[in-house]
Amino acid sequence: MAKTLIEDLELGKFVEEVSEAYPKKVAKKRMKSMVVNDPDSIPEIQANVRTIPGIITQRGCTYAGCKGVVLGPTRDIINITHGPIGCGFYSWLTRRNQTRADKPEMENFIPYSFSTDMHDSNIVFGGEEKLKQAIREAYELFKPKGIAIFSTCPVGLIGDDVHRVARHMKEELPGVNIFGFSCEGYRGVSQSAGHHIANNGLYKNLIGNNDNYVRKNKYAINVLGEYNIGGDAFVIEDLFEKIGVDIVATMSGNSTLEQFETAHTADFSLVMCHRSINYVAEMLETSFGIPWAKANFIGAEATAKTLRKVGQYFGDQELIDRIEAVIAEEMIPVKAAIEKAKAKTEGKTAMLFVGGSRAHHYQELFTELGMEILVAGYEFGHRDDYEGRRVIPSIKVDADSRNIEEITVYPDPTRFKPRKTEEELAQLKEAFDIEFNDYKGIMKDMKKGTLVVDDLSHHEMEKLIEKYKPDVFCAGIKEKYVVQKMGIPMKQLHNYDNGGPYAAFEGAINFYKDIEMIACSTIFKQMKAPWELEEVLEAEYVFN
């Protein structure tokens, strides 16, 4: 039998070759984070461990995960960065999370970056007073409903207690919900520690504060882990509007404080980015009895599947019919777009290194285009994002994870109300294969023989490209120009290269077009001057 492309590449060999440039100890450690996949017998991968000093990483810090990712997209909470100026400046409007207030006069604080801009005297004598004053100012300026405080690295060390300040200011400014996050950048190995800290804070300070959600439709869900990059959440909102299901809360794309406060009134949670929000999903389940299921709105088929899950969950024939009608209608332009793009994209290869779930989600779109994923990995995923939640009990808790507060959640004494009985959930699983409160991970969906690499280093990226020359490489802005300098088309999947939306049916069509454009771009063919081309011909000749 002829070998498939992936078998032929023998990606396993890459692991040893690439590690040669590292000192022995480093090589040993890195090799555990690079595994050849087998979806039928998923191998163990090392993930969520410290990046080794001096190895250039894609990762950011805990503060970035907490302030930038999870809390950043909410428009009516004022975020104050407590620390020196850089951290606040750098996290000011750098993610493309969009927001759309219902009315123009409504609050939108996303364009503001408040910082205490600590100076040396604050480092020596403490910065709590400065922080209090900053909170007063933010209040005087905007009279917001909520103010969140984010700690950067020096804060914990000099003994400033942002939680104490929050409590104090809450008394001084009654009616304003003020809360702090101990999300100093060094606390975790990556953004993911910040997600966890943010999740805990949302639960402790916001979720469940308001029981008065007024439904427009019979059914209501939450969309968790969707941050509205490039307008993705807008398309998802439109979709649910069409099928007639309420979204109580999106966490946290295009969200408001009220959405967090009322999230516990929903019937079901869909989880997009498992990594960044799974703790909230779990807490909503334990505390209020709301089941969650993994969802994916990236890719037309994936979107259809997710919508059907919703129909099956509620088991309402009218809803199911509406969903089917929407899918049927949306699939017409999708099919046409795929056909058109496929002429250029079929058989091409891609590599994806993004986030804690995007590297998984986007595989759907590439598969729809007939493209082959060779290598993929997360920037800040954990083992469960790779191998599935079944491995959670066996994950070693290291010093870095112990750093993050684990909160114990109990069923709410008055409001815990299981939305489905155990039997109903079991039936749904049996009948429709819906996995409740579970995520199977990226590896199950990747082919045998593909390579999975966690926390890809700069060096590894260069070698991957040099050796396998993928047709498209997906990562973020920090990798963009390295990849392009190597003559390989590059697509940013954090900010979409200012494209998007890429979610749902409409987004899928945008993506097909963008990839088609990249795949047949002529620029990359012109990168060599005529006098350089000759050399290449010669080289090829020798090679043959």
Binding site: V26, T51, I55, D120, I477
Partner: protein
């Protein structure tokens, strides 16, 4: 008129602006939409201007990631900056182990000639002894020092200064670490400050045209604005070679652009005793220091040409004389568009003050305020009513709100293309800036005209 102080009485014309009164007119304690970035970013820029150098930020990884992110989106080039990746444990036990591992890994992967080390707020807060770490590291390689890269350390806690302080301190730290004196030769040293890669290329051309032998430091004209190379370069080519920095001590003169340097308003320590690199070279190695504002505008560029004439003993080359002539001609032709207009400026102090002098030269009234954040400027704009804004991308929201043009200069520019290729100094740069400003004003007038004139 250049107005650097708060303008007189203000009116409360929108809700947020009225709040000033309830705070007793004291101004704000918090920084609302900062105009400044942090110190290790400035340090990294200098390190990118040294040949074969890899920067290491000693602290947690987030700072390096954020700084890379901003530099990459501005210069649109790969920018590798390593981090020593502090954990909670490191903050308790110190960062020496992380430091050693970090350096080991950089050497193994990059084989750099130089490693430039900048500290962060975190490593400074816990009192990391970076010079000690470097000494210890070299100790372990006793006898093999020749194989080690040169280490340069700059202390850059951001709570003591902004990216500008970081930049100038690192220039000084590099020179102090590397420069030696043998005997004075005929060469000169030029330290241009935070100019664009295009400006650096221009300066080199200018000095070549004057027939001068020179060292320009830091030179990131190639490392941050590189050609497409079919082979990927782990460390991009270009940068001031370390052997040249060594010989700076032999120069007969230094030219440095600026007047604020590392003594800006964000500086919170030692303002009295701080020296710029040029001042240090003058006081310690007795090299004559020609200090002048960034040469933007005819007057300021003339001053540079005068010094170059003096140092080279040559007349101003024809090419540059003609550039001046065309610039004067342009001033005359476009006078009607610019005269009496008002511009609000923000950015690094040395750049802003030089810009303001130039704008005055062409008849534009300016307003800027030392140490102000964007929200303060936005409030001041209510009264000053500028016709245009000049500064980096972060001020766009003010321009948008006021429906006036923004001429993007400075750092960061992440919503326009080609920031590296803007010329802003000398006759050539002034010409480019002048055209930009004039066209911004014309475009504004055209777009807001009910008739839609095609001749303006």
């Amino acid at each position: 008129m250049v107005n650097t102080e708060i303008l007189g009485n203000r009116t409360n014309s929108s809700v947020p602006l009225g709040v000033r009164n309830s705070l007793g007119g004291r101004g704000y304690t918090s920084t609302r939409n900062s105009c400044k970035l942090c110190a290790p970013l400035g340090a990294s820029l200098v390190f990118k201007g040294i040949e074969g150098c890899v920067p290491l930020i000693h602290g947690s990884q987030g700072c390096a990631t954020y700084i890379r992110r901003y530099m990459i989106s501005h210069y649109k080039e790969p920018v590798d900056i390593a981090s020593s990746n502090f954990s909670e444990e490191t903050t308790v036990f110190g960062g020496s182990r992380n430091f050693i591992t970090g350096i080991d890994n950089i050497i193994k992967q990059y084989k750099p000639q130089v490693i430039g080390i900048a500290s962060t707020c975190l490593s400074e807060t816990i009192g990391e002894d970076i010079p000690g770490h470097i000494r210890n590291y070299c100790e372990t390689y006793k006898g093999l020092e020749k194989n080690l890269p040169t280490f340069i350390h700059a202390s850059t806690p951001s709570y003591c200064g902004s990216h500008a302080e970081g930049y100038y301190n690192t220039v000084l730290a590099t020179i102090k670490t590397v420069t030696e004196y043998e005997k004075t030769d005929n060469s000169i040293t030029i330290i241009p400050g935070m100019v664009t890669p295009a400006d650096i290329r221009y300066l080199k051309e200018l000095l070549d045209d004057f027939g001068l032998k020179y060292t320009l430091f830091p030179d990131y004209s190639e490392t941050l604005d590189n050609e497409y190379t079919s082979e990927y370069q782990l460390i991009p080519t270009g940068g001031t070679p370390i052997w040249k920095i060594k010989r700076i001590g032999n120069s007969k003169a230094v030219i440095e652009f600026g007047n604020v340097f590392n003594k800006g308003v964000s500086r919170t320590k030692d303002v009295g005793t701080i020296q710029s690199a040029g001042e240090w070279l003058e006081s310690s190695l007795y090299i004559k220091n020609y200090q002048m504002p960034q040469p933007i505008g005819i007057e300021a560029s003339d001053r540079l040409m005068d010094v170059l004439k003096e140092l080279s003993g040559k007349e101003i080359p024809e090419k540059h004389r003609k550039e001046r002539g065309r610039l004067v001609d342009a001033y005359v032709d476009a006078h009607k568009y610019v005269f009496g207009k008002k511009a609000l400026l923000y950015g690094e102090e040395d750049f802003v003050t030089a810009l303001a002098d130039w704008l005055r030269e062409i008849g534009i009234e300016t307003y800027f305020k030392k140490g102000a954040d964007f929200e303060t400027l936005r409030e001041e704009a209510e009264n000053f009513k500028p016709d245009l804004l000049i500064g980096n991308s972060k001020g766009y929201y003010i321009a948008r709100e006021r429906k006036i043009p923004l001429v993007r200069l400075g750092f960061p520019i992440h919503d326009r293309f080609g920031a590296s290729r803007i010329h802003q100094i000398g006759y050539r740069g002034t010409q480019e800036l002048f055209d930009l400003v004039v066209n911004a004003l014309i475009e504004y007038k055209q777009e807001n005209s009910p008739i839609g004139y095609k001749y303006l």
